[in-house]
Every structure is written in C-alpha cells, then in structure tokens.
C-alpha cells in the first residue's frame, strides 16, 4: 500500500491505496463521493468523467497514484457556493437533459470542460465533444440543447430529429 494525497473539490484528502486502485475507486470507496459513476469500467461510457488538473479524464482509466498531488474536481464540487445548481446543471434540468440520470455526472463534467475551452461551441462541436459519453435514455438531443443553453446560445434552432 502507498500513500496518496490530492485536492478533491478544493479539499486536501489522502489515503492508502494499492498500485492497482483506480482513481474512481479511491473517489467512490475511500472518499465516499459516489456521484462519479462506473458505467462500463472499460473506458467507453464516460460516466466516470472528472477533471484532473483541469482536464477531462475517465477516472476508471487512471490509477489513484497517478493523481498524487493533483487537483481533482468531481460532480460534487460543481454546484454554486450556496448549494444551488450551477448554470450547466440548471440547463440540464430546464431542457430535460437527463432521464435516468446515470450518465449525467459525466455529461456535466464533459460539458464544463468543453465550455471552459470553447465558451460558444456549435452543435457539431458539442456532439463531437460528447463522443466519449454514452447516454441510453435521451438520444442526446436534450443534452446538446442543455449545453447550448448553458453557453448562452439560442436553442430554438435545434430541430428534433
């Protein structure tokens, strides 16, 4: 077992992990932050997407020890300081960007990474950015709408397909 220390949602945390402990296992099982989901555990679905040092990564395809000293953000750190939903989360709610909600933490983290790099993405750019996030309920349409709305853009031009 090795010691690992990182900052998660602004708080310094540490623990003792095996070499093989995945970052998502450390976050869920040791830190009890279960908002980061494990959908496929094979790097396909993106339900475990988080930010490490500001970059979108799949927490099931990274070892906890690789995040030693890193700044980690998960879905639990996304709400506004007063506990209200942030602009992306609110847009998902307003535009019905989720049904069962299982993929939603990863979708919100992916959307937030996109909007930081590209504050006014086109519909195509949003769809391309979400290639690594799978949703089995919505057909993606309302997720794309929500992200467009969160970026302050008009969503009326997006016709249902």
């Amino acid at each position: 077992m090795s010691n690992v220390t990182m900052t998660v949602n602004g708080k310094t945390v540490s623990g003792s992990v095996e070499g093989r402990t995945l970052l998502v296992e450390f976050i869920r099982n040791d830190l009890h932050l279960t908002g980061t989901h494990v959908g496929c555990d094979t790097s396909q679905c993106g339900a475990c997407a988080i930010h490490v040092d500001g970059k979108l990564v799949k927490a099931c395809t990274m070892f906890a020890l690789e995040a030693n000293g890193a700044e980690v953000s998960t879905i639990e750190g996304q709400a506004n300081d007063d506990g209200s939903l942030n602009v992306i989360q609110q847009a998902f709610k307003d535009h019905h960007g989720l049904q069962c909600g299982f993929c939603t933490p990863g979708m919100v983290m992916a959307a937030s990474a996109l909007l930081k790099a590209n504050p006014k993405p086109s519909e195509l750019e949003i769809r391309e950015h979400l290639e690594g996030n799978i949703c089995r309920c919505t057909g993606y349409h309302n997720i794309v709408k929500a992200i467009l709305a969160a970026s302050g853009q008009d969503v009326s031009s997006i016709a249902a397909e």
Partner: protein, 262 residues
C-alpha cells in the same frame, strides 16, 4: 486486475533503471494498457509511469525545420499546439474521444503499435525518427508487425522527430464503436516525394502503399491512382469489415487524402 508495484520516476534515467527488472512495464497514458490489465491480459509486477517526466513532454521546432514531440505528450496537446501541421493535427484531434486524448500519449501509441492506431500511419508516412533513451530508429524499420516494434525490453520512446512536409492529410474511416481506424491513410507530400502509409487495414500492421506512391510521384493527382487496386489477401477481416471492403477503403481514403493535400 492483478496488483503491482507503482513507480513514478521524474527523469528518463530513473525510468530506465526502474524498467530493468524482468516483469516491469512502462505506463504511458494508460488508455490501452489499463483496460488490458483489467482483462488480465497484461500482468506486470512493476508499472513504471512515465507521466511525471517533464523532459519527455512538449513540442518544439528543430533547427533543420523538423518538429520534435516528446514521447509523453498527449494527443490533446499535439492537436492544439501551434507548431504542429495540418495532417498531424487532424490526426491527433480525432483519436478516441476528448477524455482519452487528455491522457493518451504519442509514445504510448507508437510503442504499442496497435494495427488500427492512428500515429503509426503518421510516423511511417512522414519518415519520422523515433528517439529512444539509447538510439534513434527510423520509422521504416521501427514497425515490425501487429503490436511489434524494434524497441528492446525496457527501451523508452523519449521523443519523435517529424520532417515537415509541404502538405499532408490523414483520412480516417472510423470504426464507430471504438473510434479506431477501420482504415486510415496518412499522405505526406514533400514536393519531390509522396509517401502513403495505411493503418487499420493489414494483418501486418501499418504499411506503405508503394504502388500509389509511385503513381503519385509521377503526377500528384487523385486520377493517378484511379486504376490501381490493392491486394486484399493480407487485409484484416472482422465483424466490421471484410478483407475486400478494407482493400476498397484503402483506395478511397488515399484518393481523399490526395484531394485534401492538393
């Protein structure tokens, strides 16, 4: 996955020393190796992460006009860097998905030499030089078949040196589930020489399509290859595409690459 001892050296020499033991393996971005270990298809006793070695990251222009990319540079960094050129940039920005591109590295991709990976096509087409901790290897001899390279045990790709062509294009027919190349063609036009490398298609891994190169060296036009065909005998066959279909795609993607690089 089986457990292992995790090491994260800060320098290339420390990494080389850590890789001396028999069962040690280097870990790049882990986007292939970690899923492989989960399936217990790889079982290293020591995993030597290369991600903390700052001298292996970044992109720079060399005095001779070529560019060098550190082996630990991620696909996202290659895609967004101003010193990369069209073919290489478009290749890097289409690998996997956004999250994979933030972890996966060029050194990891080349060392693994997956028959459907994108980077081997760029390295072979551009005539890159693979710089390791101990020597420089020409791309023409680096790729030795599916998942096989000229790398010795414990040898690390420190950087990759790419000559800059006058024009280049990477055309990838995406396997939609995995986003690997069903067939990918990287074309490099150096003015006096055109090189065409194909990934995703052959049982032997990445290869150069010499007939297309010869035709394009005479006249650089998609018309030059319209009467060519490529033998499907050694092509990959799987549930996604037959040998014949892959051979057909090689020609289609090559034509698109010529048009795009014209």
């Amino acid at each position: 996955m089986y457990n292992f001892e995790f090491k994260q050296p800060k320098t290339i020499s420390d990494a080389v020393n850590a890789l001396v033991s028999d069962e040690a393996q280097a870990l790049g971005g882990g986007q292939t190796l970690i899923p492989t270990m989960k399936q217990r298809l790889a079982n290293p006793s020591t995993l030597v992460s290369l991600t903390a070695i700052s001298e292996m990251k970044g992109i720079c222009k060399n005095d001779d006009g070529s560019i060098s990319i550190g082996g630990g540079t991620t696909h996202a960094d290659v895609a967004s860097h101003s010193d990369t050129f069209f073919g290489l940039k478009t290749l890097a920005e289409k690998i996997g998905d956004a999250a994979v591109r933030n972890r996966g590295t060029i050194g990891g991709s080349l060392a693994n030499n997956d028959p459907a990976a994108c980077y081997p096509a760029a390295a072979l087409s551009l005539g890159a030089t693979i710089v390791t901790n101990s020597r420089e290897i020409s791309a023409d001899v680096f790729f030795q078949g599916m998942f096989d390279t000229a790398l010795e045990e414990g040898e690390i790709i420190v950087s990759v040196k790419f000559p800059v062509p006058s024009s280049s294009s990477y055309q990838k027919f995406v396997q939609p589930a995995s986003r690997f190349a069903m067939v990918g063609v990287f074309l490099s036009n150096f003015g006096n020489e055109t090189r065409v490398a194909v990934t995703g298609a052959s049982e032997g891994g990445v290869f150069r399509w010499s007939e297309a190169e010869a035709a394009l060296n005479k006249t650089f036009s998609d018309n030059s290859i319209k009467d060519l065909s490529i033998d499907h005998k050694d092509m990959i066959k799987d549930i996604h595409a037959s040998k014949e279909y892959r051979a057909h795609l090689v020609k289609v993607m090559t034509k698109r690459a010529v048009v795009s690089a014209s």
